[in-house]
Symmetry: C2
Subunit: 217 residues, 2 copies
DNA sequence: GGCGTACCGTACCGTACGGTACGCCCTTTA
DNA sequence: TAAAGGGCGTACCGTACGGTACGGTACGCC
């Protein structure tokens, strides 16, 4: 395997994407059925091709995680004028998106794989998942928070800390419960209510102009 | 969480506890070296005994999780008169304890195992971990919150929801980052500061008498 | 002393899975 | 039409690991 000692960063070909989707499918369906044979069968390709393209099992997993990550990145849509309503809306948007992601079966499966892998030294899927999940959304939210502070809508010293509070208010115990196998499926409505509550609470903590605290379930 | 749904709840004998501790040790050191052979070697017992005592690998894992859970339960210490200072102190106590638990290597390893197991149908370690972690602390915190409400220090409609907010404010992104393999070791001091901040924020959201908001990093 | 029980150590078995080799088909190119 | 190459299917190999069997030892009991 000459051509790429580190890893195939290049966007996978259509056929390769199909393979990676097959991997995702298997992950979601049943994690411990995720064998090279099963992938080859599902993707209708030979194992030899798998090894040629991805090096080894780990490479395949890594490529899959990258592939999934590559299509999560929603477009930015950077700042217009920021008033209280837009700020709130932006934050709600982030919260809803994030909740939808972490409650999705693909995310759950992927995180399980990455966590199972973590600590087992080699090729950290965990790092990739973190970079494209938790940290990616952090980098997208923080500018919004800072813009809010710039126009006097928010007050905080450390945007990272502020974001982490926001993250905690949004996610709470949901992700860990899902990862540990609790059923717990939220419908879109519940997600929206959760996001509302989280944003309300966040603004109550960091907002300069306090809206009357309506929700308080 | 009933103490005995099905199997062998009886407290393990001293020898058996030693075996389970060996399992915990291996888990923490290197998860994928956690083989029946390795356990037998580490615990200086025969595999046959392992199977006799615990049935199969799953039984051993389950017993280990239960064993670890059994020594986490700190004593209650139910309510004295509850004033603002004691309430705050109790909450800080919970927050510190919880952070110490989830940042501990044993917890991380155990959660990784349970998560890896989850979704793989059979014998849910995830359920046990949840019951003795997230839910156990919930059942211990909620009475405190309710006591706080009873004396007018807190205001909320749903103690479960209030607790979940507390949980989110305390844990934020810490557990998922650790599980995914980030280094991130908090010293006792940071944990205490984190707990302080979380309690401040929680009281700011749910407290009736607002203490001046000092921390706001 | 003889016997049963509990347990250690180790050898052994079956299987599942990661990884490799090879034959065949199909498409492309000359 | 022929040669070449990419890729599919399948058979195969080595090994690691869950689980079992068996010999050997210590101990308690009749």
């Amino acid at each position: 395997m000459q051509p790429s000692p580190t890893a195939e960063q290049d966007a996978p070909s259509a056929r390769q994407q199909a393979v990676l989707d097959a991997v995702l499918g298997l992950m979601v369906e049943d994690r411990d059925q995720l064998t090279m044979d099963a992938v080859a069968r599902r993707a209708s390709c030979s194992k030899e091709t798998l090894y040629k393209w991805f090096g080894d099992r780990d490479g395949l997993l890594t490529a899959t995680v990258r592939w999934q990550a590559s299509r999560v990145h929603a477009g930015y849509d950077t700042a217009q004028v920021l008033d209280g309503a837009t700020l709130r809306e932006r934050l709600q948007d982030f919260a809803v998106t994030w909740l939808e992601v972490i409650t999705g079966p693909t995310s759950v499966a992927l995180n399980r794989i990455a966590i199972a892998h973590a600590g087992s030294h080699k090729s950290n899927l965990g790092g990739i998942v973190l970079a494209n999940g938790r940290f990616a959304i952090g980098e997208r939210v923080k500018p919004v928070l800072e813009a809010g502070r710039a126009v006097g809508l928010l007050a905080f010293a450390d945007s990272e800390a502020a974001f982490r509070t926001f993250f905690g208010l949004v996610g709470r115990d949901i992700q860990i419960r899902l990862l540990l196998g609790e059923a717990l499926d939220l419908c879109g409505d519940e997600i929206r209510r959760d996001a509302d509550r989280a944003v309300d609470q966040f603004l109550a903590l960091y907002g300069q102009v306090k809206p009357e605290p309506n929700h308080q379930t």
